[in-house]
């Protein structure tokens, strides 16, 4: 696709902004694409609705925000209720099964995956929830090579935490690939 428009949304502290940065950075540094990542959030450090927009494109990007995402990720019910209406018809809507009950009122490919529960069962640390989500997104969309994400993680995450992050990414990738539509 010439241009991918993504919106990540959830609650402050879930790591949605971090995940968006990792994805966009991977696209630029390891796949040579243009990308832009911006964010909007409330004044609180934790809690509150958080949104991060990412555009990945072969051509120049001017306006930095996404009006109609072709990929939307919502990790809380609040974010789902607020943002599901903006998805481009036929777009991919990824939600976490524990936190979001989709209403399916919009024209989109709804994918609900047990991201949080799988991370807690297999790894036991919620901190890598966002990386598992990123893995699922890559598995579903084949937007980038998983290797590009791993290379960004290697440059940003302390070595001791790499194993856990890789495992979370793999769990997500497996779930995403299985549910590809």
């Amino acid at each position: 696709m010439e241009r991918s428009r993504l919106v990540f949304s959830g609650s402050g502290g879930q790591g949605v902004i971090t995940a968006a940065i990792i994805l966009a950075k991977a696209a630029v540094i390891y796949e040579g694409k243009n990308a832009i990542q911006s964010q909007s959030y409330g004044a609180a450090a934790r809690g509150g609705a958080t949104r991060s927009d990412v555009i990945i494109s072969e051509s120049d990007i001017f306006f930095p925000k996404v009006n109609q995402p072709n990929i939307l990720v919502t990790l809380t019910q609040e974010a789902y209720n607020k943002f599901s209406g903006i998805i481009r018809p036929g777009g991919l809507l990824l939600v976490d099964g524990k936190y979001v009950k989709p209403q399916k009122k919009v024209d989109a490919k709804h994918i609900s995956l047990p991201l949080y529960d799988t991370v807690m069962k297999e790894i036991g640390k919620p901190i890598v929830f966002n990386i598992c989500m990123l893995g699922a997104l890559i598995g579903l969309s084949e937007l980038l090579e998983p290797e590009s994400i791993i290379r960004v993680l290697e440059t940003t995450i302390p070595e001791d935490f790499m194993e856990m992050n890789k495992k979370a990414l793999d769990l997500g990738l497996a779930m995403g690939t299985e549910n590809r539509v």
């Binding site: 950075k25 630029v28 243009n34 832009i36 911006s38 306006f63 009006n67």
Partner: protein
């Protein structure tokens, strides 16, 4: 081509390093904090000094002192910090102390919205000091601009011995994007002119020029004061001396208008409309005008990178071929008043928005088409 991925604030820090900045002082504030964080990473390894002041007032004081001692100083804050800097900005203007002040604007008034962007301070930056002396304000649109304009800002501050502002915005400063710094066209680095010879008078200068510089703490006595002073740096009440100094402070900026004017334009053949914008809004304007061009309506664009001194000659020259001039701003109308002084009101269409959101390309197309 080496693509990197960085936010506007990091690009400003990189621009400062490229310009030879060797001193930073500031106090954290969203959305400007990462300028400080990046300077903290980059400056000490190069032998520079990076200080977190106890507050904005102290930080500005550090910058003034460092610049008086010959350092190239940078500070970064947002609107509420500019308020606190204000007294000492006047000092830096009056005592001709070079420095670069980054204002990563957020939505005001007052503490306003820490996490929402706006071009809130466009008039404030010019008029936030006592006496109404002209200042230089540059407005970037993206990360590459942040890098290049910071180098220009240091050059201007050194040449004209004055504070130079960079009017950034939360939506540029905290937005990360792909950028190829190798493609940047940087101006040659300018350093302030040092005085040579005997009989140094700290404020003796040619008309419409900044005085040659000597650092405090050297072998030659350098007198500095925030009070009205003559060429010798002593307080004066002599009306002629006062008038000459006031005129010089004004002329050194206003008479340099053309060499201070920076802009970008897209001229489209057969267009009868020109859209003028600045800052992050120029990005939405570019998108909307590309879409309009694809659908058969050519519209030209002018993106101002220098906001103060107002590039009146440029605006006059660039607007004369067009029937309609559309001005778009991320506030309720600050710079339009400057354009009104140059362009006949009957040709002007204005749209401003200040609600914490970027103005969308769709909205701009609507204004261009139906405004």
């Amino acid at each position: 081509m080496a693509l990197s991925f960085m936010e506007g604030n990091e690009a400003i820090a990189r621009g400062a390093i490229a310009a030879g900045c060797n001193f930073f002082a500031g106090y954290p504030i969203t959305p400007a904090t990462t300028v400080f964080a990046n300077m903290l990473k980059m400056l000490p390894p190069k032998g520079g000094v990076c200080i977190q002041g106890e507050d904005e007032i102290a930080s500005m004081g550090y910058c003034i002192g460092a610049s008086m001692a010959g350092k190239k100083a940078l500070t970064a804050t947002s609107g509420p910090g500019i308020s606190l800097y204000s007294e000492q900005i006047s000092f830096a203007i009056g005592s001709e102390i070079p420095m670069v002040i980054v204002d990563v604007q957020r939505l005001g008034p007052s503490t306003g919205s820490a996490t929402r962007g706006a071009d809130s301070d466009i008039q404030f930056l010019q008029w936030g000091s006592t006496s109404g002396v002209p200042v230089i304000v540059l407005a970037p649109s993206d990360a590459l601009d942040c890098y290049v304009l910071t180098v220009h800002a240091f050059n201007f501050s050194e040449k004209y011995r004055c504070p130079v502002f960079i009017a950034s915005n939360k939506e540029i400063g905290m937005t990360k994007e792909s950028v190829d710094l190798d493609t940047a066209v940087l101006p040659p680095i300018v350093n302030r002119t040092f005085y040579s010879g005997d009989g140094f008078l700290p404020f003796e200068a040619e008309p419409a020029a900044a005085p040659p510089f000597l650092p405090i703490g050297g072998n030659t006595l350098v007198r500095q004061t925030s009070s009205t002073h003559g060429p010798d740096g002593f307080i004066t009440i002599d009306p002629e001396v006062i008038a000459a100094n006031q005129q010089r402070l004004r002329d050194k900026i206003l008479m340099a208008e053309e060499s201070l004017t920076l802009y970008e334009e897209t001229v489209r053949e057969d267009a009868d409309t020109l859209v003028i914008s600045y800052g992050v809004t120029s990005r939405a304007v570019e998108d909307s005008c590309q879409q309009l061009a694809e659908s058969g309506t050519p519209v030209s664009t002018l993106s101002l990178k220098t906001l103060w001194p107002v590039p009146q000659k440029l605006i006059l020259e660039k607007t004369k071929a067009y029937k309609k001039i559309v001005v778009i701003e991320m506030n309720l109308g600050q710079y339009i008043e400057e354009i009104r002084k140059v362009v006949p009101s009957s040709n002007l269409v204005f749209y401003g928005q200040m609600n914490g959101l970027l103005i969308s390309p769709d909205k701009i197309m609507e204004v261009i088409t139906h405004g």
